[in-house]
């Protein structure tokens, strides 16, 4: 009974470790694929730089829009209170 439990736990652990290794391997491959046409550092740095840029630009745009809308709404409210 105890040995059956032991084997099933071991089997589960091995499966999980294997899954983890496969995932890690997949990540390494994915990283290589994005710039696989060129093995140069310049390409990799451009890829990383533009990835950061493409991730941050939408956040900045949304933030800028919310700030603008808030300020505009506040100004309109003050205007209506004065009149």
């Amino acid at each position: 009974m105890a040995s059956t439990l032991y084997y099933s736990i071991l089997k589960l652990m091995i499966t999980r470790v294997m899954l983890l290794l496969i995932l890690l391997g997949a990540f390494l491959n994915l990283e290589a694929c994005s710039v696989c046409f060129s093995a140069k550092d310049g390409t990799r740095y451009a890829y990383y730089g533009t990835t950061v840029l493409l991730s941050l630009v939408p956040l900045f745009m949304v933030g800028f829009f919310i700030r603008w809308a808030y300020k505009r709404a506040k100004a309109l409210e003050e205007e209506s209170q004065l009149s």
């Binding site: 060129s38 140069k40 390409t43 533009t50 630009v57 505009r72």
Partner: protein, 192 residues
């Protein structure tokens, strides 16, 4: 029993629907151009010679001078808006006219440059460099062309005294985007 009905107080809009829609559209367009710039930078960094040695060089100085007209057009549009707000409709109309003139001049000179480049062998299919150049700069030119049509429409409306501030502001947002993105494209494509 009589119920008193109160009409809810209508709150003022922060901007017209047109302006809000245009801001959202411009947001999408910014991402579109960012994606093009990203692809351009990644590909260009992977090449040994960029621009390729067998391809003609871009007219950097002439485009820089031409860019001044685009910037001037943006500034004239801004002045036109100031005049429009202060109810000086005639001045606003004339400033808008000059803004359209500068913008048209920019697009015409760009077209002339393109003709020279095509004549010298830089085409969409001559190299990756050519493909990227026409795709990135062509997309901007297409936007500039659309914005000019929009500005001409507003100018006609303004002359007839029918231009609404909503339509004028909407076209302004788009034109500021076209003017604002150009220095980024110029530095990336022409000075890279």
């Amino acid at each position: 029993m009589q119920e008193t009905q109160t009409t809810p107080k209508r709150s003022k809009k922060i901007a017209s629907n047109g302006v809000i829609a245009m801001i959202m559209f411009v947001g999408c367009e910014v991402m579109f151009f960012m994606a093009l710039i990203s692809a351009y930078l990644i590909v260009s960094r992977g090449q040994l010679n960029w621009p390729p040695l067998d391809q003609p060089r871009l007219p950097v100085e002439m485009t820089a001078i031409n860019s001044i007209f685009l910037m001037l057009s943006g500034y004239l549009m801004f002045i036109s808006n100031r005049k429009f707000i202060s109810k000086q409709k005639e001045k606003a109309t004339s400033y808008l006219f000059y803004a359209v003139l500068c913008a048209t001049f920019f697009v015409i000179v760009q077209g002339w440059e393109w003709m020279n480049l095509i004549f010298n062998g830089l085409t969409m299919f001559s190299s990756t460099y050519g493909s990227f150049f026409y795709l990135v700069i062509g997309s901007h030119a297409l936007h500039a062309f659309a914005a000019i049509i929009m500005m001409i429409y507003i100018y006609i409306q303004m002359r007839a005294g029918k231009a609404s501030s909503s339509a004028f502001n909407t076209s302004q947002v788009f034109w500021y985007f076209v003017v604002g993105i150009w220095p980024v494209l110029y530095i990336t494509v022409y000075l890279n």
